[in-house]
Symmetry: D4
């Protein structure tokens, strides 16, 4: 922030924080839910201008916004399951985040987490449908767990998977409860509480369905780990 | 219930349901918490009179009541961890209930479940401290799980153990959440919700810390199973 | 699980647990809610291949999926109220599950419970609309209660029926709260809490509207009871 | 309220509403919990002065306050289980309130309800320990239910008793949930929600453990009913 | 209930309790929400047959069901705001219920309460929009409050009206919280809790939006009061 | 209120409190949600008649009602984001309310607050998108904070902004939580609880999304402050 | 904050914010609960040093700390009901805060509010025990309400008083729910929700039992109002 | 786990998981709350035997257990505020964890976090009392934040500190809500929800008061980061 740069761009409907990358190493991101398609496109364009060296990320894209983004940025990378778009060159992948999901219905959250981790500069791979009711599926991929720099474990219903993974490996684990379930799952509350009370140490938790936040955090841990080791 | 027998004994402070054994196969039980030692002793004596062939059971004994029960019934069988007493001959053990507990702090609930199952006519054995953070402890006892007629799985904190056990065996599972934990465990609520949302089918749930209820139910299943097979 | 068989089939969107029947005696089931019709049909086909001797079960079928299932498997058994389909030969019915429902609005959950119990190898019969506000309706069917191997008791609103049934019979009772009600029923929470606090021993509880889970559990108890007695 | 009478007595720590009897037919009552013994005695004395024709009532008496009340008013009528005291002549009993309690632990709330109803001018009788797990105990007293002008039904745990009573009689029913229970009873919340969702019409509800409020309401109904019929 | 009459009519989808009027003085009522129009019409017809002397009542009528009811019973009395229908001769009005509502948005619940009270044999009148933010509106109708045999007080948001009314009159008060409000009203929870904690004695509470239950209860009190006084 | 004026206008569906301005200094306001367009127009017309000197305010206008208001009152001032309309001359602006919003999605609540404050006679200005994740945006507008007579601080998600503002200035702060967020924000509950527990003294709180209430309160404080200083 | 003054004093166990008065006009305050008596005395001494012109305030004093404060500062002003102490010269009283309390049990919170308002530079007076069950008590003091610059309204149980006061006067109202009550008051939650949903505009809310926060806010409003008018 | 080593030691009351270090890199830890002093000492001794190269850690030591630990292991390192003990040689400190606390009352949780991080092999330093009501205290230590490998941010009440820190730095942040507060903080729930909904990306959350879990997680991240960089 200098005399001529307040550290943000005032767009009338928003003050885009262009100084964030200087403080935190990563630029601001567009949360598209609740914004018009025009607002999201405008914000992405401003981010491209402010940070030409790194892809601008938008999450929680409503269906109509996806089309508007692709019309404005034909080269945008879009994942419809993750509801995410990245516009511009992805950063080099440094370190590895592994996203582990309990059930097939958790896929949107797992996809958002993986897309975000990659857009924030870490490599990302996924392991799906390894819920605790069939442990052999999880045990078959232990090598993938141990070789990651950070794990994201996504589960709905009773949210037991992070505890079991936490007993199998010492890799840092970010647990993400999902709203998958019904009745007394209370839209993800049951999984959230379970993960917060994990008997396995080394499990930390994000908001329900917050694949984005888990992706940011895990990418930072993975980048630190891998950059250090060079 | 006949002309001269209303099916209960009116003790002034209580109407003891002496007809319950005819309806359900099992006599009434004394829940001693909140009762005076004198009331508990009186009720046990009435149960002994009404059902001389089978031990009378009292649960949730306050410390002072334990002494009063032993003074009144020197032959009483008392388990101080389970806080239970049985007065009179235990029924023959038919079938087997296996009580599996996640942590050492779950012991009082596991003990109450096992004591109750035995007093209700099933054999009872226990497997303790096999929480999901160290799966090998549980896998080492798979044979004990499969050979039971009914399982009671006791856990606090995130309550993940019933889901994992439910993926390993088809024996009916009664899950009991405990109030072990702190903070967002909310006195057992986290474990309760987790168990109600188990991704493993075949898991049913009791109230928080309700080892007694689990013991009654499991004993009935075990007795049915084993009696049938004779 | 052998060298050539990892115990699951990796379909990309799911890892179907084909080993479950070996561990638990029952194959995996398709929870169709949140899945595309194509995914449900594909999973049913895989289950048919893996377990040709026993019907594949799908629950919580969205309306469009019902048509897709019938198109793919013209012989499928479909219950539109239960929202369930079974594809392939039903197992022999061993033992009897009786599903008791408090009100007419509880019918979908009761139907799901009965359909599941039958698909899991037990006989299933139903008793409907015997809520506690007219006890004579329940007392008129006491014989049906006592002759079952396991009872499933379904109720919404205040959820009082399992307690009353639990005072009338010693048959194991699985209580299922439903989301029937309004206002402070909080989508089934009132009934759930009531059932968890039943003053009648021998009552265990499933998640709100979880007829499937109750059906699996009750079928296992009924099969054990009846198989033993042969 | 006239020029010289503001309708209340200002005691510094309280403004005693001496005009209430003119508006509602009943004088103010002392809720002694959280008050010093001196304050309770002072308020009772003021009530005696303001309403010499009718007993002053104090509820929720702490143990020490009981002694202070008896020292100040040797003729006071005190019920230690109900934790209530009445000082002065009880009004004539008009009509009948019947207080029905599910379990022995509900006795303090039932006693408070009965004491209050009597102090508010209705006759009061009690029926204890007729919980729904042994329906014959309740059916044995149906005559007592039908002959009352208003019923108060007190229950903890799952709070099912008002629904069952509501199916047996058309007498107006005031349900009082109690904090009796543990775990997911959440200090009476389970019973409260159950009673609010009763499937039997004609059931209204008071706060948890609020025997006083139920007693006031029921006495008013009973007085109306009986006075009318003279 | 005699040898030939079980006390109910088994319609397949429902067991209509035809014996209720003998036990409680009032026949069963059709709760139409969640039922098909055909089911509601069928149940009304059965009620007409079983109780030709008294109008059959249906509540919570979905819009389509209103038309079906009017087609089947052209003389039906229908209140579209109350969503209620009465088929057959209304009973003589005995005693008076006064329904007091805090705001204009509470009208549907107030209408349901008044319609029900009338159908259950009491006279019913209404006082609307007298919320506590303008006390003079309420004070202007004090005469109407005092002359009723029972009051129903309906309010959403903070639910303060029953407390204020309870300080003005000794007529029994049934409070009905409504789901009117937003944010931390939590669909009527705020009003419900407020009414349960009323500082005015003599206030009892129904479920959120339960005008029907309040109407039944209040009619019974009013009938008792007025019948007695003849 | 005189002999001929009861202090309200009875419109059948509503009792418009025309006396409120005499008691509180401000006339009644139309909360249009849940009312028909006709009712809202009618109430605005009555308010214009009763209070010709001051604009009538309607809030929470449904889309269809906006058109009806404009048709009836072509000169009405309408803010579609705020969903508010003012009909008639705005009062002189006395004092200044500054509305500070954390994110772009909080705009509707901030707009409602500003519109209301202006309609209640204070000047209103806005500062948007100054959430705590980029503090420099807030620090850049400290002068605007300190020069206001009352601040309204609007935030969703974790609701941290009022605490930070409360540490920067001594101007009275009214915090408004919004329902912006997902998962464990529980529709604004997280922000509400955070604001109630602010570690900065001098922060008071309104209901979730209640920009109207904040605007009324802040305008009164600003008017008092500025009027005094003349 | 200059080169030599970081704006705080680092005491090892605390960083006392000595710069707060420059930012907000008021110095920091000692919240004594959870602190040792020594820590509280030390912080008061530091506050006296940093702000010799104005009394240092400590709230929520544990009983033992009261003695320690009086020993260290014999001239301290202590209110044992409010559990507050002020050490040093009170600021001139500018403007008037009136603290209105619903019941006698609300006295500690009302006293804390009044003590704080005075210590923050406003005049403070109290009106006690004017709950809504006896409106004449409140109407008798309307003049005191209207003549204040800011009102603090304290109530437990159903928390209805702020709504009623808000309908009587246009003076800004800060509502403080208290934990007075039992059962479904849930330690003040019922009153909190009621106040947040007040139908009277112009009511803002503090945390449960937070008389301190209300006092700070109201003093600031009163000071602004009165200073302006000089 | 070999033929002769099951991977755990069966102590009767516990199955100590001696294999955990091989799976996760860190040995098991003794949670002493709810255990007898003898059990804690015994478990520490077993851990010393199984892992002689690394200190055994016990947390949540009851006062009496501290003495027993010191008697058994005179060289134990004990922190009474953290309620932790380490017996044996601490591992080399690799990388740096910085524990940031909002208020003085958060000290026990911050101390537990720092003690655990050190015992798990990271360096640990603390920054206390830098709550958001005085931002300059936090801004003064920005260098300490940026130079850490992982941050633990501890706060009660509204839990705003992690969001503010998350806007200032890109170092991974583990937020720990504490139970500090009263009223609607609901024993830490307000802070927990706030942290889960942080608007700053890169914030993950632990259970209320769970300094231990945060310490384990942060130490792992710090070790990874620093080991890599050698």
């Amino acid at each position: 922030m200098t005399a001529g740069d307040p550290g943000y761009v005032d767009l009338g409907f928003a003050r885009l924080d262009t100084h964030r990358v200087a403080r935190t190493g990563d630029p601001e991101v567009v949360f598209a839910e609740g914004k018009t398609a025009e607002q999201t496109v405008r914000l992405l364009a401003e981010l491209r201008t402010a940070h030409p060296e790194r892809a601008a990320l938008a999450t929680r894209l409503p269906p109509g916004t996806v089309d508007a983004v692709l019309a404005a940025f034909p080269d945008a990378l879009v994942d419809p399951v993750a509801r995410c778009a990245a516009v511009g060159p992805l950063p080099e992948a440094v370190g590895t985040v592994c996203v582990v999901a309990a059930g097939t219905s958790d896929a949107p959250v797992a996809a958002e987490a993986a897309f975000t981790a990659r857009a924030f500069g870490a490599g990302a791979r996924r392991v799906d449908d390894v819920g605790v009711a069939g442990l052999h599926r999880l045990l078959a991929v232990r090598g993938e767990l141990d070789s990651a720099d950070c794990l994201i474990v996504v589960a709905g219903m009773e949210g037991a998977l992070p505890s079991v993974v936490g007993g199998l490996t010492g890799v840092p684990i970010v647990a993400v409860p999902t709203s998958v379930g019904y009745g007394s799952s209370f839209d993800g509350l049951a999984a959230l509480l379970a993960m917060l009370n994990s008997c396995a140490p080394g499990v930390v938790v994000c908001n329900i369905d917050n694949g984005f936040g888990a992706g940011v955090f895990a990418a930072r841990v993975a980048r630190q780990t891998a950059r250090g080791s060079r």
